[in-house]
Each structure stands twice: as C-alpha cells, then as structure tokens.
Symmetry: C2
Subunit: 277 residues, 2 copies
DNA sequence: CGATGGTTTGAATGCTGTCAAAATGTGTGG
DNA sequence: CCACACATTTTGACAGCATTCAAACCATCG
C-alpha cells in the first residue's frame, strides 16, 4: 500500500486519500485504512446525479468528501421530499440490506469515497471497531432525523427558514473556527438550490422567498444575492426561530455534537468543489 | 448463571427472562446472554412515567418487553412532539453519549429490560456481535424516522390518520399471523392515548376526531369505541392514505422489514400488560 | 347524582399552497 | 456590447386546510 508519510497525528487519512475527513475515516488504526483503501475509490458526481436509487440495489456505501448529498423519497402520487442532507464526513448508503429505502442524490457537485457494499461489510467483520464508528455515525443521523421531524411539525414555515439560516451559518462558523479563521460578520450560504431547501423544509420556494424578505425588512438579515445572506442580528433570528442552542447543536458537524466519550476526535476542513463547467 | 433448560431453538431467550423478544435479544450466542443477564433487570413502568429525561443523564439503555414507549422532545416555548414510538423488541436509550437528546416515556404501562449504560457498553466491547445487532436496530430506527418525516410533511392530516390506522392494523395482523391465529376482520387499536396519537401525527385531537368520523361516514371503517376501529375496506383506506406497501413495511415489526441477510430471525408475540390498578 | 376527564361538534381565524404574472438574473449568439 | 431566450426569483390574489377557542356531549367513578 506504499509508504505512509508524516503520520503521527495524521493516521486519520486513508493512505491514498488526499482529503482529510471526519467520522468513520478518522479511526486511528492503520490496518483498517489499508483494508478500506484496497476496495474503495474516489468518485466525482455532478449536481443532480443519482448515486443510489430508491428501491434499487444497495450496491455501494461511502463517505462524502466534498459537496452535499440529499437523501430523498417520492410518494406514489409524485410528492417528493428531502429527508436528510449529508455533508463532508457523513457516511451514506445502507449496510446489511439488499435494497435502498431512500434515494441518495448529489445536491451539489460532490466528491465521494465509495466502496462495494458487500466488500465493505467483510471489512467490518474483520474490524469491529469500524462497526463501532458506523454505529456512532448512524446514531447521530438518527438523532438528526428525529430533530428534523420535531422542527418540521412544531415550527411554522418562518421559523423553519430562520432555523435553516442558523444551521448553515453555524456550520460555516464552526468550520472557519476549526481552521482558526476569524470572521467579523457571519454569512449564510444556502449551499443547495432553493427548490431543494423548500423540499427539505417541507414548504415551497414562494413561501421561502416571502420569509427571507420579511426577515430583511425586519433588519435581521441582509440579502446579498439569491443564495447568500448576512446575519445582522443572530439573537433575534434565533428568537424568531424559536429553537434552543441544544436543538441547533445536533445539526453541527459531528465532532462538535458528541459532548464526551467519543473515541476519536479529528478536525478538518474540506473545501467545496468549484462547479464543473 | 444457573442451567439453561430446553435451549436448542430457544437460544434467543435471556437465561432469566421469561419473555421471548426480538432483535437485539435474539442473538444466538449464549455467552452474551449470560453477560447481559448479569447486569440487566426487568422493570415495570406505569403509563406516563419518564424513563429517560431530555437533556438528562443517559444512565441506562434497554429493550421493550411489553407496552409502548414514546420518544419525544419539547421546544423552548412548550410545544411538544412524539418523534417515535417503540414497540416490544425495540431497543431504547443512547449509547456512547453522556446526555439524552430526547426524552423516553411510557405511553402505556410497560415492561422493560434495562441495564446500566456504561456496563452495557463494556459488554459490547467484549462482544462485537452485539454491536452489530444494535447497529441493525439503529439503522432500522433511522429508516423509520426518515419515513415518518416524509409522511409528516407530504401527507395531509386525513392521509396521516389513515396511514396510522393501516400501520396499527398491519402490526396486529403480523403478530397474529406469527402466532398462527387467523382473523376474519382486522381491527385497529390505537394502542396509545388520543393525545399521543395527535402529537405523533403532528396534529390535534379535534382534527383526528373529524377524520375518523369522516372515514366512518364513507364506510371505510367502523368505530367500535373511542380507540378501536374495524377496517371495513382496507384497499380504500390505503388509497386515501396515499402510501405504498413499501412505505408501510418500514413500520412493521423488525423481522419482517429486513428483506434478506439478517443474521438472526426470531418470531415471538408479547402479550400486552393489563393496566395496573 | 354531580363531578371529572375525554370526545365531539361548531364557527372563525390564519397560515400556507396554488396559480399566474411580473421582475430579475444568466448565458448565448449576433 | 447588445439582443434575445431561458431559468429563477419575486410579488400578488385567492382558496382551502387545519388550528384555535368554545360549547355541547358522553363516559366513568366516587
């Protein structure tokens, strides 16, 4: 598998993987990484591309290296909803099942680390610690999904829009903070298309538009362009959202959510890909 | 640990546990059961009792033996929602985290198998296969949570009520089927209080009442009493619900959802407790 | 029998989706 | 650089579902 240069506190990197990534990949055991590296490969996907189809074969699993994936499902009558967004470091796919319960698509251009599901499972059998990492990841995803369900049915659409702005700015601030970058004013970037935000928040693009302009009128945010907003009054935004810090924390990058006892900690920032032209 | 009598196809039973239960408990390795039995105990809880408080210590984990638990959370302003219901065989609690992200309460009188979380974690470290079983359980819970989110935001309240009726009858039919009991007509029992159903479906008791009577007017169901309904026309009920069989299957008992590759299969029926008086 | 808790029914309000049109932005080709 | 087509966003008007509040109804129980 070639030499591993540097190492020490870089054991988190898969031998052949340039990007440093969180969660499942940040295990400290080098043997696992050789095993995984042997069967996984990087893959670039364009925005809108389907990675795993709902009801289709659960052929592969992987980790997001850059970009954002959406987990979605369509009802018999065509209504569709995004039930989850996956960010760099997040695990995707379904283990130990033949077919997919949901679809996984690229919400933006993205870079993935993918592996054949069956072969990945055999690595898991050899390395129980890997199953532990995946359990951690899945537990977190479960908490996020339940929190989403809570916000979806308890909050009205204005509160949901405000919450989404808080979450995106929160994620951005945390990433910048890890990179030791100071930022005077916080900017919210939607990250995904307006239509996807609407689907994710369980509302429409018209309603989102109205609420964004309402927030600007109230002096809470400043609309920079159709997908970038400066948060002028974070406290008021949170008051409008009606959620607590605890509610928001669940949506922050993984290593910040576990208050203790996480066996592996690793900080890293993954730069977004530029749009393929 | 005493002798284990009978055994053979009863390896699924914890040595000291009279109830036979699915999922995590139905592993075939006897050594695990000795270990778990040594640190777990049965516990009866009355309806309404809190087992784990939101934000409180994640002191214990366990399995539902009988009854129904609810996983819920309350927003800063007091709005509350049930994000998940747990049935016999389901695992509850949070592993590897110090504090709870949600509350776990008894929706009905219930019987539990509980264990100290930290000690349970040490058993997991000794028996990786147990971690596998928990990962399976958590993955399923994740799929259910996402499916709930989908139904919650795509379906209107009539459709959600219809879906709930389909799920409860479906669960009942499957349990009876496992017990080799034939049933001529299918009956839906809410199982939990009307208020809890409302919270779970993200609506109000008034709306539920209206829809139930609407369904009776249309001849789709027959109201036996305020919490029991006979389904007269299952197909029409499903048409009204607007969901596919696939959507419903996720909510059925565990051993029926995994289409393949599940390492452990066990059928059992757990009788509901009578109300404590 | 009155009291209590849960359920049903009614009327009114309001949020949010829908449809449609205007406005803005983006990219292409002349 | 401009003109045009196309996509996205914004704005407006309207309708409908569902919540809210309130009152009536019904059950069980002391």
């Amino acid at each position: 598998m070639g030499k591993i240069e540097g190492i020490a506190n870089q054991a988190n990197r898969c031998a052949r993987c340039r990007a440093s990534v969180r969660s499942v990949c940040s295990l400290t055991d080098c043997a696992i990484h050789s095993d995984i590296a042997a069967l996984s490969g990087r893959r670039l996907v364009a925005a809108g591309q389907t990675i795993l189809a709902n009801g289709g074969q659960a052929a592969l699993v992987g980790t997001v290296l850059a970009g954002i994936l959406k987990v979605s499902k369509t009802l018999p009558d065509g209504r569709e909803r995004i039930v989850s967004l996956l960010y760099p470091g997040d695990f995707f796919g379904q283990l130990f099942t033949a077919s997919m319960d949901f679809a996984v698509e690229a919400a933006t251009d993205a870079e993935l680390c993918v592996a054949d599901r069956l072969r990945y499972e055999s690595v898991i059998r050899r390395h129980p610690i890997l199953e532990h990492a995946i359990l951690q990841s899945t537990s977190r995803a479960l908490a996020v999904a339940r929190e989403s369900a809570l916000l979806l049915s308890c909050l009205n659409s204005l509160e949901r829009v405000a919450t989404y702005l808080l979450v995106t700015t929160g994620r951005r601030d945390h990433l910048l903070q890890e990179a030791k970058l100071q930022t005077s004013h916080s900017v919210a970037a939607l990250g995904i298309s307006r239509a996807d935000v609407a689907s994710y928040l369980g509302t429409t693009i018209e309603t989102i538009s109205r609420h964004l302009h309402y927030l600007e009128d109230k002096g809470v945010i400043l609309i920079l362009d159709s997908s970038h907003f400066e948060v002028l009054d974070r406290d008021r935004l949170q008051t409008i959202a009606g959620v607590s810090d605890d509610d928001l924390r669940l949506f922050m990058p993984a290593e910040l959510t576990r208050t203790s006892e996480s066996r592996h900690l690793q900080t890293a920032i993954v730069l977004p890909l530029h749009r393929s032209k």
